[in-house]
C-alpha cells in the first residue's frame, strides 16, 4: 500500500471508503481523494496515452497544471479531458483513460512513436500536402483524427448551470498564506471583499508542503482554521471555495466558475456549476506559483513527477507515490520534499542537483549528508528508461562519469514561476528576473496588486513587508505574521533548461510540451527553418498550445530558445497566456441561455388555436408562425400549400398576421418625421388613408417596407416586416434623437398589443359583413387602402382595407386579449363561404404571383427601390429622406444594376429552384457569366406551372427575351424573362 497514516484529517476521511471504476476495474479510495490520489493509492501509475505518439503517461503533477492525466468521466455524460489530479472521486464514479485503443496497456496507436520521423514540427503543414488535393480530406484527415486527439465528446449531455453577479470593492484571488493574511487584515473594514479559492480547503502551500513549521506560534493547520473562521464570521468578506477564476478582463471584470458538486455525483436537475461574473475596484492576486519540469531523454515516463506535487500527495492526501524516489533539481524548491520524505522515513534513493555542493542550500546539504543519501552534485540526468513505467536513470556526475540508478520514481524541479496567467490576461507587463530565472509581474495595467509568490516574491521573510506596503492604500493595520520554517526562506536557482541528449534513438525523446507531444528537437528544427520568433515558433511546433497552456513547461521553452538564439530571455519575449486559465465548459458559459431558453420564443395570441388546428410552424426571427395547415398527417407541405392558395383565390382565406411589427408615431411633428423616414410623401394623404411605404438605408438600399396608416398629421401607425420591427423602431429612435432632435415626435412598439388577421379572397366581403354587420364594407364607404375604427362587442378594433395576396382583402387589428374570440367568430362565420386559415408559405406564394417583394428574400441589402421598379413610391418633391441622395449616386444609377424581373420556364413542366443562376448560355462552361439569381420560386396552382422572381443585371431591359436558369445538376432550363407580375395585372381584384 502506498499510504502514510490513516487517521482522518480535514482533507481525507479515511473511515469512508469509496468505490469507483477505472477502465472497468473497481478500485477503492477515500472521501476527499482525487482520481489521481486514489489511483496512486492503488499503485496505478499509467493513466493515459499521449496526444501524438501515444506514449504511456502518468501523473506528472498534483493540480490544475497537469498536462498528462486527462480522463473521461463516463458517469457524467462521458465528460472528456477532466484533470484526474483535481477531480474528486465519489461512490460509483466511472472513469476511462483517453486516446488509447484497444486498451491502455496495449495501444496500437503507439506505433506512431516508431513512425515519429513523419510527425516532425509543422507536420500538419508539410506532410499532408500531396499527392492529390483529395488526399487530405479522404485519407489523411480521418486517420489523424482517429489517431491523435484527446477525449471523445460527451453524450446526451444536458447542462445545468447558472450565472451569478458580484459587485465588490476588493477581490482576493487565492486563499493561500498571502491571501488569508490579506483577507484577515481586511476584516471589519469599510470594503466589501470577495475571497476566491479553487480548492475546497484554504491554506495553499501550508496544506501542500512542510515548508512552514508554525504561523504565529500555532501549527499551520490551527492558524488556517482560526483565520478561516474569522473570515467566515466577518460581515464584509464573502468566501467562494471550489471556484476557479478563469478570466481577467478589462475594467477588473473577472469570470470564475464554481463546481457545485465537488466529490459527489452531479444531480441531474440541480445547478452543477455557477459562473460568477465579478466587478471589482481592486484585484489582489495571491494565486501563487507553479513548479517547472526539466527536459531530458524520456522525461515523460510514468513515474516522473514534479517535486512539489509529490510532496502534496504526501501532505494533502496521505499517499506516497513511491517509497524510494530519486530527486533531481536545480533549485531550492526540492528541499521541502527531501525534508518531508526523511520526516516520514522514506528517504530518497538519491539526490541529484545540477548545482555544485556549495550552491546547494546548507540545510539541505546537511540533511542529505546526515541521512546518508547518495548525493550527486554538478550532475544531470541524461536519460530515463522504462517500459510503461520508469525503471532506471542515467546520471552524469561532475567528473563526467555515467551512473545508472535503478528506480521506479523520479521527482523533478526545474524552478518555479509566479502564476502570471491572470496577470497577463489583465494586460499587465512582465519582466524577466535573471536571478530567479522566471518572468515576474512588473507593471499592472489595471488596479491589480500581486502578493507573495504570485508577484515573484519568493522570500518567506519578506511577506509582512510586502503586504504592509502594498495594502497600505486600504489603510489597514500593519500585519506582523511570525513564520517559522522547516526549509530555507529564500529561493535560489541555477540555470538548467535541458540536459542535452546523449544519443539519438527513435524511441528516446526529450519533451518540452507533454500535452502536445512537442520535443526539444522540434524546437531546434523550427528555429533552423526560420521560425525564430516566439509566436511563430509556438504555432509551428504547437508548443504550449494544449489545454494546459504549457503551465509547467512554457518558460523552459523560452529558456531553450534564448540559448539557441543567443539572446536574453527578455528579448525573446513570451507568448500571451489567454483566457480561460483552465478549460471552461460551454455549459457554464451558456448558463440558463440554453435549450428552450437559448432564444426567447414569441408566440401570437392565437398560438394555441394554431396548435389545435394542426398547424406546422415556421421560425420567423423569434416568432413561431403557422407555416401551413395540413388536413391530415398524409398531406404534404406542397399539397397543403396548393390547396390553401387555390382556396384563397376561389373562396377566401385568413392569415394570422399578428407578428407583423407595429409602431405608433405621435407628436406635433409626426408628419415631418415620417416624411424623413420613409421614401413616400405622406403630406397629401387624407386622415383615414394608408400607403405602402419603403424605408431605405442612407446607402439607398431597401431596408424595410410596410403600410403606413395616417390617423392625423400628428398620429401615424406603421407596420413593419416581422423580422424588421426592432430595427425599424431603433432607426426611428436614433434619427429622432440624434439627427432631428428639434422635431416633436414620439414612437413606441405596439406589436404585441394588437393581433392582426389578414382576410382575403373573392368571398371576403360576404364573410366580414356577417362578422361586423354594423360596418358598411361597400367600395364607396370603404375604398381600397383606407381604414376605420370600430367597436366589436365593446372592444375597439381597426379595420384596414389592404391585401398582400392580390385578392380583395382586409386586415383586422384587435387587442391581443380579445384576439381568439374574434378570430373564432370569423372562422365560424366564414365556414359556409369556404374560408380556411392559411400559413406563411401560401402567403409567400400568393404575393409572389402578384409580384410583391419580401424584404430580405427578394432584396439583400444591395437593391434600391429603382431596381425593384418601385420608382412611384419615391416622394420626388421631398427635399430629404433617409437615403435620398444615394439614389443618384454613381453606383445606384448604373445601367447594369441587378433588377427585379419575373421568370417563366419555356417548357411549363420544368421546375425552377430558388438560388439558381440566370445565365445567357445553354451550356455551362467555366467560367459562365452570371446575370443574377432566382430569389423566389413557387408552383402556382392558378397558373398551373412554375414561376419565379429574380434579380438580374439590366433586367428591366431584358424583359421579353430568353435566358437559361441553372439547376443543381449543372444542367440548364430555358426561361423567359417577363414582368414581375403573374396575376391580375390590371389590379381589378383588389378594388372589387
Amino acid at each position: 500500500m502506498s499510504e502514510l497514516n490513516l487517521t482522518d484529517n480535514k482533507f481525507i476521511q479515511f473511515h469512508q471508503k469509496i468505490g469507483f471504476k477505472f477502465d472497468g476495474v473497481k478500485y477503492y479510495g477515500y472521501k476527499g481523494d482525487t482520481i489521481a490520489s486514489a489511483l496512486l493509492r492503488n499503485n496505478i501509475k499509467l493513466i493515459g496515452r499521449s496526444f501524438k505518439y501515444h506514449r504511456p503517461r502518468g501523473f506528472y503533477t498534483c493540480g490544475i497544471e497537469e498536462p498528462n492525466a486527462l480522463v473521461q468521466i463516463i458517469s457524467e455524460y462521458s465528460e472528456p479531458n477532466t484533470r484526474a489530479t483535481i477531480k474528486k472521486i465519489y461512490e460509483g464514479m466511472e472513469i476511462e483513460s483517453q486516446n488509447r485503443w484497444p486498451s491502455l496497456e496495449t495501444d496500437i496507436g503507439s506505433i506512431n512513436n516508431i513512425f515519429s520521423p513523419v510527425f516532425p514540427a509543422g507536420f500538419y503543414y508539410k506532410t499532408f500536402m500531396g499527392p492529390h488535393k483529395n488526399f487530405w480530406k479522404k485519407i489523411y484527415e480521418p486517420i489523424i483524427r482517429k489517431a491523435a486527439g484527446l477525449g471523445k465528446p460527451p453524450k446526451e449531455f444536458k447542462a445545468v448551470s447558472t450565472h451569478l453577479y458580484h459587485n465588490v470593492d476588493i477581490t482576493i484571488i487565492g486563499g493561500g498564506l498571502n491571501g488569508l493574511i490579506a483577507a484577515k487584515s481586511l476584516i471589519d473594514t469599510k470594503y466589501s471583499v470577495l475571497l476566491i479559492d479553487f480548492d475546497d480547503q484554504l491554506g495553499g502551500i501550508l496544506n501542500n508542503s512542510n515548508k512552514v513549521q508554525s504561523v504565529n506560534n500555532q501549527t499551520p493547520m490551527d492558524w488556517i482554521s482560526e483565520t478561516v473562521k474569522e473570515i467566515e464570521n466577518s460581515k464584509n468578506i464573502k468566501l467562494l471555495k471550489n471556484t476557479l477564476v478563469t478570466t481577467y478582463n478589462y475594467i477588473n471584470h473577472l469570470i470564475a466558475v464554481e463546481d457545485k458538486f465537488v466529490g459527489s455525483r452531479p444531480l441531474k436537475d440541480k445547478v452543477n456549476s455557477t459562473l460568477h461574473k465579478i466587478r471589482t475596484d481592486q484585484v489582489i492576486l495571491c494565486n501563487g506559483h507553479i513548479e517547472r519540469f526539466l527536459s531530458f531523454q524520456n522525461n515523460d515516463l510514468p513515474g516522473i513527477m514534479l517535486c512539489s506535487s509529490f510532496e502534496k500527495y504526501m501532505c494533502r492526501y496521505g499517499v506516497i507515490p513511491s517509497k524510494e524516489t530519486v530527486v533531481f533539481s536545480n533549485n531550492s524548491n526540492s528541499e521541502s520534499l527531501v525534508f518531508s520524505l526523511i520526516k516520514k522515513g522514506f528517504k530518497p534513493k538519491a539526490y541529484i542537483d545540477s548545482r555544485s555542493g556549495e550552491n546547494i542550500e546548507p540545510d539541505l546539504f546537511d540533511l542529505i549528508r546526515k541521512n546518508d543519501i547518495p548525493l550527486y552534485t554538478n550532475s544531470q540526468i541524461k536519460e530515463a528508461y522504462g517500459n510503461k513505467k520508469l525503471q532506471k536513470i542515467l546520471v552524469e556526475d561532475s567528473s563526467g562519469g555515467v551512473n545508472e540508478i535503478k528506480t521506479d520514481f523520479l521527482c523533478l524541479s526545474g524552478g518555479i514561476n509566479p502564476d502570471v496567467h491572470l496577470f497577463t490576461q489583465s494586460k499587465g507587463l512582465l519582466d524577466w528576473d535573471e536571478k530567479d530565472l522566471t518572468y515576474k509581474p512588473a507593471q499592472a495595467f489595471q488596479p491589480t496588486i500581486t502578493l507573495g509568490s504570485a508577484s515573484g516574491q519568493f522570500d518567506f521573510n519578506a511577506i509582512n513587508k510586502e503586504i504592509n506596503e502594498k495594502l497600505d492604500i486600504f489603510g489597514i493595520k500593519p500585519v506582523q505574521i511570525k513564520l517559522k520554517l522547516n526549509t530555507s526562506h529564500k529561493f535560489k536557482i541555477e540555470k538548467l533548461w535541458e540536459v542535452l541528449p546523449q544519443k539519438q534513438t527513435i524511441w528516446s525523446k526529450s519533451f518540452i510540451d507533454l500535452q502536445n507531444d512537442v520535443t526539444t528537437k522540434d524546437i531546434r528544427q523550427a528555429i533552423s527553418e526560420g521560425f525564430d520568433r516566439i509566436e511563430h515558433l509556438k504555432r509551428y511546433t504547437t508548443n504550449s498550445m494544449g489545454t494546459d497552456q504549457g503551465k509547467i513547461s512554457s518558460i523552459n521553452a523560452l529558456g531553450i530558445v534564448s540559448d539557441l538564439l543567443d539572446k536574453k530571455v527578455n528579448e525573446v519575449g513570451t507568448t500571451i497566456y489567454r483566457p480561460p486559465y483552465a478549460p471552461l465548459s460551454f455549459a457554464a458559459i451558456a448558463g440558463r441561455n440554453s435549450y428552450e431558453y437559448y432564444d426567447p420564443e414569441r408566440k401570437s395570441p392565437l398560438h394555441n388555436w394554431h396548435i389545435t388546428n394542426g398547424a406546422v410552424f415556421e421560425d420567423v426571427g423569434q416568432w413561431k408562425r403557422p407555416w401551413y395547415f395540413p388536413l391530415s398527417k398524409d398531406e404534404t407541405m406542397n399539397d397543403a400549400v396548393q390547396r390553401e392558395s387555390k382556396n384563397v383565390r376561389e373562396n377566401a382565406g385568413v392569415l394570422d398576421g399578428s407578428t407583423l411589427g407595429k409602431i405608433e408615431i405621435k407628436g406635433k411633428d409626426a408628419l415631418a418625421f415620417m416624411n424623413l423616414i420613409y421614401t413616400n410623401s405622406f403630406s397629401k394623404m387624407k386622415p383615414g388613408t394608408s400607403r405602402y411605404a419603403l424605408m431605405l438605408g442612407e446607402d439607398g438600399m431597401v431596408k424595410d417596407d410596410g403600410i403606413i396608416c395616417k390617423i392625423s398629421d400628428e398620429h401615424f401607425i406603421a407596420t413593419t416586416t416581422t423580422g424588421g420591427a426592432a430595427t425599424v423602431l431603433g432607426c426611428m429612435e436614433e434619427y429622432a434623437q440624434t439627427e432631428w432632435p428639434n422635431l416633436n415626435v414620439y414612437m413606441n412598439s405596439i406589436t404585441e398589443q394588437y393581433a392582426t388577421f389578414n382576410i382575403s379572397g373573392p368571398k371576403t366581403r360576404n364573410i366580414i359583413e356577417k362578422v361586423f354587420p354594423e360596418v358598411n364594407f361597400s367600395n364607396e364607404a370603404f375604398p381600397f387602402m383606407t381604414f376605420q375604427f370600430h367597436e366589436y362587442e365593446g372592444t375597439p378594433i381597426r379595420i384596414l382595407r389592404a391585401s398582400f395576396t392580390g385578392e380583395m382583402g382586409y386586415e383586422i387589428y384587435v387587442p391581443s386579449n380579445q384576439a381568439l374570440k374574434i378570430w373564432e367568430k370569423i372562422i365560424n362565420f366564414g365556414k359556409e363561404f369556404g374560408l380556411k386559415p392559411y400559413g406563411t408559405e401560401t402567403m409567400h406564394l400568393l404575393r409572389a404571383e402578384k409580384g410583391y417583394i419580401i424584404v430580405g428574400q427578394d432584396t439583400d441589402g444591395s437593391i434600391t427601390p429603382l431596381d425593384l421598379g418601385l420608382d412611384w413610391m419615391i416622394g420626388k418633391s421631398k427635399k430629404d429622406f433617409l437615403g435620398k441622395r444615394s439614389l443618384i449616386r454613381s453606383d445606384t444609377v448604373r445601367k447594369d444594376r441587378k433588377q427585379l424581373v419575373g421568370i417563366l420556364p419555356t417548357n411549363k413542366n420544368e421546375k425552377l429552384e430558388e438560388g439558381q443562376h440566370i445565365i445567357l448560355d445553354k451550356e455551362i462552361k467555366t467560367p459562365t457569366p452570371m446575370l443574377g439569381h432566382i430569389t423566389s420560386c413557387y408552383q402556382s396552382p392558378t397558373l398551373g406551372h412554375n414561376f419565379a422572381l429574380a434579380v438580374i443585371k439590366n433586367g428591366q431591359s431584358l424583359i421579353g427575351t430568353k435566358a437559361f436558369a441553372s439547376t443543381p445538376e449543372l444542367k440548364t432550363i430555358e426561361v423567359e424573362i417577363v414582368e414581375p407580375i403573374f396575376y391580375d395585372k390590371e389590379n381589378t381584384k383588389l378594388a372589387s
Binding site: 475594467i251 466587478r279 507587463l429 512582465l430 507593471q443 513570451t574 440624434t738 449616386r889 454613381s890
Partner: protein, 116 residues
C-alpha cells in the same frame, strides 16, 4: 467588458448598450446639390483611430437613449460621457497616451508582453 455610465441611468454593464460608431458626423441633407464626395463620406467613411475617439452609444436594453462618449481605443478607457445636445469636449482636454495595454509600438502591432 466595459462599464458605461449612462447619463440617464448611471453605470451599467456594456451588455446593455449598443455602439453607434463615430460621433459628430454631420449628416448633409439629401438634396442633389450635395456632392458625391461629401455624401459618400457621410455614408461610408468613418474614423478608426488608435487613441482618443469620439463615439456614440445607445442604452438599447435600458432607457434607449443615445449619448456620446470619448474613449481611448488603445486602452478602452472611457474618458468622458456626455449627452447628445452637449458640446463636444475639446481634444486637448484629454491626455492622448496612445499606449496599448501591452506597450506595443505606436504603429503596427506585435505581441510584446514583456516590459522594455
Amino acid at each position: 467588458m466595459l462599464i458605461i455610465d449612462c447619463p440617464y441611468c448611471g453605470p451599467r454593464d456594456q451588455s446593455e448598450f449598443s455602439n453607434g460608431g463615430e460621433a459628430h458626423v454631420k449628416r448633409p441633407d439629401g438634396s442633389a446639390e450635395i456632392g458625391d464626395r461629401e455624401w459618400g463620406e457621410y455614408v461610408f467613411i468613418r474614423a478608426n483611430p488608435k487613441g482618443i475617439f469620439y463615439e456614440r452609444w445607445v442604452h438599447s436594453h435600458g432607457c434607449r437613449k443615445w449619448f456620446n462618449c470619448v474613449r481611448d481605443t488603445s486602452t478602452d478607457e472611457i474618458l468622458k460621457i456626455y449627452k447628445i445636445d452637449e458640446e463636444r469636449p475639446k481634444l486637448d482636454s484629454f491626455k492622448n497616451n496612445v499606449k496599448t495595454p501591452s506597450g506595443e509600438p505606436n504603429l503596427g502591432s506585435g505581441n510584446f508582453t514583456v516590459k522594455k
